[in-house]
């Protein structure tokens, strides 16, 4: 309700501060518990490989939750997010090597809409591949 960014201060093409998010096996276990999604492809390497995956993969919803932080950190008010949608194009593979994976998120204003809202176009990459496609949020600014 009280975003820090003013509608009048942004233009189409304005970039939001980019962020990188690390993800380890421990993060996935924690997310499984918090979200209730205990699918073993997110924590059991043997199972993941049996169903044809290269390794354990992050929950798509974990990646989706990280990507929107670029928007909510920018506006200051997470409740300003009116719409948010993504397509899960590639999995984020999370190796058990003590480092894990990195999700790199960039975002820019794609359109200025009515009622002080803007469309933010997001890009999320991991290991050189786009992991979220058609990733867009509509946010209400001050």
């Amino acid at each position: 309700m009280t975003a820090k960014i003013s509608y009048d201060d942004v233009e189409v093409g304005t970039e939001l501060p980019a962020q990188s998010f690390g993800v380890t096996r421990a993060d996935l276990v924690r997310y499984a518990g918090a979200s209730g999604d205990f699918n073993p492809i997110h924590w059991n390497e043997r199972f993941a490989k049996e169903v044809g995956l290269p390794d354990v993969i992050a929950h798509g919803m974990f990646t989706m939750a990280e990507a929107i932080r670029v928007v909510t950190d920018w506006t200051g008010d997470p409740g300003a997010v009116v719409e948010y949608g993504v397509r899960f194009t590639k999995p984020v593979v999370v190796p058990d090597d003590g480092t894990g994976a990195t999700i790199e998120v960039t975002a820019k204003i794609g359109a200025k809409l009515d009622d002080h809202t803007v469309r933010v176009d997001l890009t999320a990459m991991s290991a050189g591949q786009k992991v979220l496609g058609m990733s867009r949020a509509v946010v209400r600014l001050a």
């Binding site: 518990g33 909510t72 997470p78 409740g79 719409e83 948010y84």
Partner: protein
């Protein structure tokens, strides 16, 4: 085998209310590493104009996905859940989910498609609070990958 098209448009009865707790929101915010105080500090949330701490934008998926499970596991629909992957996800928020909400979900099958042997299911979850106010709608696209030829 292609899914039965007669399921398109079918709605399932509303779920029992899910009570959103402050500590559950905190647990979720910590799990995604998000330190925004609106998720954990009621005073910070009030400063933004909310009655209590609010949940991150994707939090409600845990509730809508559980509700969608009733659809996915409907034996009459016959979806092979072991081959399901999450294709798309979208949320439209009327307002943020907040601590103290008692939320019910009504799931509706919006579309069923068959593409190259894959079954594609679009489920809409309409979320209302205890006063009947619409809070958020979640659209979930599930893809059941074609089984390998024996």
């Amino acid at each position: 085998m292609a899914l039965d098209q007669s399921f398109v448009g079918r709605s399932y009865p509303p779920t029992d209310p899910y009570e959103v707790g402050r500590e559950k929101i905190r647990e979720f915010a910590e799990a995604v590493g998000d330190t925004n105080p609106a998720y954990t500090d009621p005073e910070a949330a009030k400063a933004l104009g909310y009655a209590d701490v609010i949940a991150p934008p994707t939090f409600v998926f845990s509730i809508t996905f559980k509700a969608a499970g009733e659809v996915v596991q409907d034996p009459q629909l016959g979806l092979d859940y072991s081959r399901v992957v999450h294709g798309d996800q979208k949320f439209a928020h009327k307002r943020p989910v907040r601590a103290g909400d008692r939320l019910t979900v009504t799931s509706t099958i919006e579309a069923i498609k068959s593409l190259a042997g894959n079954d594609i299911l679009d489920i809409r979850g309409d979320v209302h609070d205890e006063t009947g106010e619409h809070v958020v709608t979640a659209w979930t696209k599930l893809v059941a990958r074609a089984a390998e030829k024996a």
